[in-house]
Amino acid sequence: MYRQGDVLIVPVEEAAVPASAAALPPQQRDVRGRLVLALGEVTGHAHAVVGPGELRRETGPFGAAWLHLPEGGRVVHEEHAVIPLPRGWYRVVRQREYVPGAVRYVAD
């Protein structure tokens, strides 16, 4: 698994990707042609994948995101070093913080 700031990228077997997730529409790329895994609202800084591949995001605040990189790729961010990823499937997890009675997401 790989961590870039508040995003964890966990390799998974293709068979582990639920069929319901595989049927989701792939996320569109941003204007720079990247797949945005997580976006900072104020700075606009993004954890993003450069290279061919698809991201499928389940809906809802706790929905998982599934990343397929048929040829591998790189995860970039304005404030973090690049992480090269081998080809394969990944589950993308956003970091959260404990709040008594609730859970909230972290943004770095």
Partner: protein
């Protein structure tokens, strides 16, 4: 008329900017949208269009037109709401408005809404609509909805003082409060949310449903130009947009030195990382001490105080001991009186800042956490055993 545009993400980005806009309303544009909406609904044009600085002022006028004002005056917040209702009454009288007629929200907004949706689904199928929604409104909705819900709660509270109702309040006070609250909620049901309707409008826009001024084109034009609005048979009440909107990286209302959301008339919401706080609370934290934090009885406010003060300072000042230390970070526990302990994991960024230092940050984890690794693993929803990143930046 419906045609799926090639770039739903760009359409969504435009509507996102619209939903966050704080510029003064484009009043001419909004009024043109209102006229188009009435025309499209087959209604006679309203005889009066009134502008207000905030949804609070507009809601006061809506209470007068809709008949809920008496319940509000009779409620526990009646005295506080009185000046607002009086001002609204003067505005309505000056415009020659005696009655507004019935709400026409259904005709100008909901019906074209349903027609547009039916048309899009007929063309692209339920799956196509779900796909379009995921790319547009689905992205915008969580935050826009959270914001309008917060505004709605604040409006109810300002007009009824319901938040101050004591647990041991007597039955009569409870009853009067409940009646006032439901009167305000009813008045708010007549509102169209203008810029805060952006999620749905983004989906319809991407489907080519907003190209003209028929159907939803009118309401969309109002949304691009103004804040909340109340359409009645004879009168339209329109609110300006907020003048201030401050959010954190996660999109939550957040500001330490002033209101996170404010309108020109002073109607405002204060929040710290999304958590609502009283107006003077954050500015009053300037000389905060660890002792004052311990003395705060409200657990939510105490949590805000610790974050504001800084976990690092608080840990040092309160003589906290590290519970556990490993290569993922340090686990700390802070005991609080009459509350569960605050357990935080201290983590160091793996990528250096431009000045060569490494930023340290603290994440609160469940109180039963035993090791630093278990804490960090929890923040990513994986188990301690599984959490072994082969690369971190």
């Amino acid at each position: 008329m419906t045609s799926i545009q090639a770039r739903p993400l760009e359409v969504a980005a435009q509507w996102r900017r619209t939903s966050l806009a704080t510029a003064p309303a484009d009043r001419a544009g909004a009024e043109q949208g209102v006229r188009a909406a009435y025309r499209a609904a087959g209604l006679a044009q309203p005889t009066a269009v009134l502008w207000f600085d905030s949804p609070l002022q507009a809601a006061a006028a809506a209470l007068l037109l809709g008949g809920g004002a008496e319940e509000v005056r009779a409620g526990p917040g009646g005295e506080a709401a009185e000046p607002l209702l009086d001002q609204a009454a003067i505005r309505l009288a000056a415009a020659g408005v005696r009655a507004g007629g019935a709400s026409v929200r259904e005709a100008v907004r909901t019906r074209p809404w349903e027609q547009s949706r039916r048309r899009v689904v007929e063309q692209v199928g339920a799956g196509g609509w779900a796909e379009l929604w995921a790319l547009t409104g689905g992205e915008l909705r969580p935050q826009t909805q959270a914001l309008s819900a917060r505004i709605r709660t604040a409006l109810v509270d300002r007009l009824t003082s319901s938040a101050e109702l004591a647990d041991d309040a007597d039955g009569d006070l409870r009853e009067r409060t409940a009646r006032a609250v439901s009167a305000v909620r009813l008045a708010l049901l007549d509102a169209v949310l203008g810029q805060h309707d952006a999620p749905w409008l983004a989906a319809f826009d991407a489907a080519g449903e907003l190209d003209g001024l028929d159907g939803l084109g009118g309401p969309a034009e109002v949304a691009r130009s103004a804040g909340w609005w109340w359409p009645y048979e004879q009168v339209v009440l329109l609110s300006e947009r907020p003048t201030e909107l401050h959010r954190d990286e996660a999109g939550r209302l957040d500001r330490a030195d002033g209101p996170a959301l404010a309108y020109a008339d002073g109607f405002a919401l204060h929040a710290w990382r999304g958590m609502p706080v009283p107006p003077d609370f954050l500015t009053g934290l300037a000389g905060l001490t660890a002792e004052r934090i311990r003395e705060e009885e409200n657990a939510e406010l105490r949590r805000v105080m610790v974050e504001y003060y800084g976990y690092d300072r608080y840990l040092a000042d309160s003589g906290a001991e590290p519970l556990h230390r490993d290569e993922t970070g340090i686990l700390w526990r802070i005991q609080l009186p009459d509350d569960e302990p605050v357990v935080v994991v201290e983590v160091v960024n793996s990528t250096a800042e431009p000045d060569g230092t490494f930023r340290t940050y603290w994440l609160r984890v469940p109180p039963g956490t035993r090791t630093a690794r278990a804490g960090v693993a929890w923040t990513f929803g994986v188990t301690e055993v599984d959490y072994h990143p082969q690369r971190e930046t």
